[in-house]
Amino acid sequence: MQYECPNCGGKVQFDATSQQMKCPYCESEFSIEALREREELISTQGQDEMDWETPETTWGQNESAGMHAYVCQSCGGQIMTDQTTAATKCPYCDSPVIMSGQVSGELKPQYIIPFRVDKEAAKAALLKHFEGKPLLPKVFKDTHYIEEIRGVYVPVWLFNADASACILFKAEKSRTWSDAQFHYRETKYFNCVRSGGIAFAHIPVDGSSKMDDTMMESLEPFSFDGATEFQTAYLSGYLADKYDVSAEDSIARANQRAKESVELAFRETVQGYDSVKLDVSSVKLKNGKAVYALYPVWLLNIRWNDQLYPFAMNGQTGKFVGNLPVDKGAAFKWFFIGMVICTVIAFLFQLIFM
């Protein structure tokens, strides 16, 4: 059986002089036991296994009675609200919406996090978001559009699972010393094996194609402690988006985030080295389950210079996000000020110290 060099991937050979396995390409030496252990680890752990069970409960006739569905004429998105709340504009693209009928047949949410932050707090947060931004165009701060902030329940898929993983890290430890003739640097190389388990609860993945996934992730964290079983009464006064990204299509993102977290958590247990890098990772999920929920978000779109700027606030925690435009004149002014100051400092520094 031939072993691969952990350093460069070349085929190692037995070196009679040192009585160790030696790589002819990078000249690194290893004990047979260390190589055998590494090979066993890689061959027995195999690929990631991440499968999830997805929900199937649909709206009952009594539950959907009184729920109106609206369709956006521009982006095709479907939103719903109770019969006492009228929807006139799409919360995502600001285009008019038309009523398309009653809600029926679709998957019913299992949980909902009700709004904890009201509209006044959302408006105050928006104004605070504009403060301390010298590159923001002055006309952008005009507050006449602030009333158009809308509370929307965004559909999310929540993923729960127990993960087990076996991860191999490459670690290095260095030391230096000197004698009369030379400076020495010794680097020792290690394989660090970490096998264990970790559990996840309610990893959210955005179930609406109209709600930007990155924006939804920026609003996190949402605390599931504030969630309750879904009832249509919570929708009164708010809009609710219907999911158009299935649980199956959301799984890849949940897997990616879970795997990243597992690797980070295990990485933190490798201590006492100067450098640690991931080498091989195998993550398996058990009891994977997805549930459908609605999460509260305050949304506002501002149109400026023919571009739409979306803003969002977490309706549970009040966290506010949204990218702001940059005023070119102000940008040039601050660049020029920074340049002048740094030029003067650099000039004086060289005059005095060089």
Partner: protein
């Protein structure tokens, strides 16, 4: 006027050029920092907020020594 002419003749232009280059880099750094304040939408690549408390447990934890490498550099002789 005379003083200005003397100053211009004695000035080290390489010094001035280096300072301007540092100034350009510094100005750009200031601008990029201020633009970053206008950006608040960032993807979350991990799910650390959703890890169940105290659920991490390791059943295998081994650090296996592989090999060492020694590099040496001759000292400057005085």
């Amino acid at each position: 006027m005379l003083a200005m002419m003397i100053l211009l003749q004695t000035l080290d232009w390489m010094l001035v050029l280096k300072s301007i280059l540092v100034g350009l880099v510094g100005g750009l750094a200031v601008l990029l920092f201020m633009i970053s304040k206008n950006r608040s939408i960032k993807a979350k690549h991990e799910a650390n907020d959703y890890i169940r408390k105290n659920s991490l447990h390791l059943w295998d934890r081994r650090d296996v020594y592989l090999y060492r490498r020694v590099e040496k550099e001759r000292r400057e002789q005085k």
